[in-house]
Homo-oligomer: 354 residues x 2
């Protein structure tokens, strides 16, 4: 397969972890006879510094003419107090909007070698393997906002159309078909009209996927179940705000946020990025954990149907964890293992699995 990949390393540790992800992709290309080509562009603080905009036109253009986007991280403290329009984070938000990336996909997996890192007791976290589908461009974050001038009142409108619900629901059900065939819709249908619309549309659409079982959970109960029994979940489907809360809650139960990849998917484009931030104070020190970026590359492979290739990357990652060839955030071994060494090990293991 030939894939044109736009590489947007961004700020802070973004470039160094993205470099390791590309190493893994190159090893896969060689091993499986694919042709991956990369073009790099600026986004975030680095783009503001160079071009005055967190998302320069040529970056957006490159994304639109590529098959996929490999993204690093965004954000720098020097822009923390800057006005809205020039903040680095606006680059990512604008890109999501321009490319209509309506589905945020976040896998949460308990790695056997890291069970002791979890805040949850071992027997609860063992075997957890969840894929969360969060709607990303609708709901209360994007609805009409109002604040009275005298500061006595404010409001936010949560809105959903049937179409917004259906397009992400299809993605979730399709994903479930390749997994344990279970979708859990998280909503608050006992109270909210938007939630009742979600429940109705998803229930109708589920008939097209007769092999997939569908169940429902109120968001408050879901917040409890994520702690009490996270293994019950396979694919979670939910609206924007509930997804924000539940996916962040889920992101910590595994014990390391440095391991978690994500994908943001639209009709025509797809972007892959670690969920961790730009971690500017660690830049260039070789301590950034590259695994989330490497697993994001694995999600990219899956997105194009390259499942065996993705599995190979994941096996290499698991091996590095098992052997303790990890950055200091995981503290498995005492000797100093750099970002690059972890990336090298994983790429080498892809090329030469023992």
């Amino acid at each position: 397969m030939e894939l044109k990949i736009a590489v947007l390393p961004g700020d802070g540790i973004g470039p160094e972890v993205t470099t390791q992800a590309i190493k893994a992709l190159n090893a896969i290309a060689l091993e499986f006879d694919h042709k991956f080509t990369y073009k790099q562009a600026d986004i975030g603080a680095v783009a503001i510094d160079k071009a005055g905009s967190p998302l320069p036109d040529e970056t957006l253009e490159l994304c639109k003419t590529s098959d996929a986007i490999l993204f690093g991280a965004i954000g720098h403290p020097k822009y923390d107090n800057a006005e809205g329009s020039v903040r680095p984070e606006q680059g990512l938000l604008k890109m999501r909007k321009e490319l209509e990336l309506f589905a945020n996909v976040r896998p949460v997996k308990a790695f056997e070698a890291l069970l002791d890192h979890s805040p949850l007791k071992r027997h609860l976290i063992k075997g957890v393997d969840i894929s969360i589908y969060r709607e990303l461009t609708g709901g209360i974050y994007f609805g009409k906002k109002e604040t009275k001038e005298d500061g006595s009142y404010a409001s936010d409108l949560c809105e959903y159309s049937a179409e917004e619900i259906e397009r992400i629901a299809h993605l979730a059900f399709k994903a479930a078909m390749g997994r344990r065939k279970k979708v859990t819709l998280i909503d608050k249908a006992n109270v909210l009209d938007t939630s009742r619309l979600w429940r109705k549309k998803v229930t109708e659409l589920a008939k097209s996927y007769p092999e997939v079982s569908l169940d429902f959970l109120y968001v408050d109960n879901a917040a409890m179940q994520m702690i009490l029994n996270p293994r019950q979940f396979d694919v979670i489907l939910t609206e924007n705000m509930f997804g924000d809360i539940i996916s962040d809650e889920a992101s910590v139960i595994g014990g390391s946020i440095g391991l978690l990849p994500s994908a943001s998917i639209g009709k025509n484009y797809a972007l892959f990025e670690p969920i961790h931030g730009s971690y500017p104070q660690a830049t260039g020190q070789g301590i950034a954990n590259p695994i989330a970026a490497i697993l994001s590359a694995a999600m990219l492979l899956e997105h194009f149907g390259l499942f065996e290739e993705a599995e190979t990357v994941k096996e290499a990652v698991e091996r590095s964890l098992k052997l303790g060839i990890t950055t200091p955030d995981l503290g498995v071994k005492h000797e100093r293992i750099t970002t690059e060494k972890v990336g090298d090990f994983i790429a080498d293991f892809i090329s030469n699995p023992e």
Copy 2:
């Protein structure tokens, strides 16, 4: 002190746990020379059965002429498929509304004797002591709802007035003054206008409580922090929906929902109830854990400034847990200890602490 207490045992295990709470209150009255009088009324399924309404007028009237309301639990499966107006749960919702109970207060405390029951690792849960103030009568649950007839669109409006924010914020800051003097406002002020209004009003109001430190946490981050480091929280203040999610998440970290009390407070009235439900299948078997109801009675005492009395109840509860004199849900001892025996032990300990 003289207190007229309306007792609303409700459904399922409600009556049996409420009986134990009254036992504890009677022991306190005797020991501290107070006069508590009780009048009982029906609510929930039992009220529908007898009077055709989940909240009969005379029950509401009794509540309005009492100093406080001691509530059991509500709900019976035979009404699970009933229409909206005759569901038992409507009794509680209607009462909250009629009595303007705008603040829901939920303490979450890690009991030393039960640390091993927590889904979290011991070192994370040890010492946790949080009091959550959730706004209960505003926000998206009560805003205008709309669904288009053709099912293509739905919306829910989240609204807050400055006054709604301020009245509960005062309660939270006052509570913090009697605790570790820290308030954390949970919001999503980077996205929502209502959250920005909360942040503005609470920041202004904090100036009246110079000893109390105020910090802010986005709700998605709060959902992570509740797992990673719950000990950081003292008083949590938040709006209705965020409070629903975060307080339910917090309710499971301690390891037993059978221990958690709550209060719903308005300008003129206050109601105290265990957070657990009516658990109908356990009715009359003597297995219901009465501790949440007994700790709700302790919250009632605190509400009227009877802090030493409340402390005495809590000590008796801790002693029962330490000695393993608990119902089977906590499984501390193997012999069968009934709801009544736990209540007796706690009342006796109040009268005769060793």
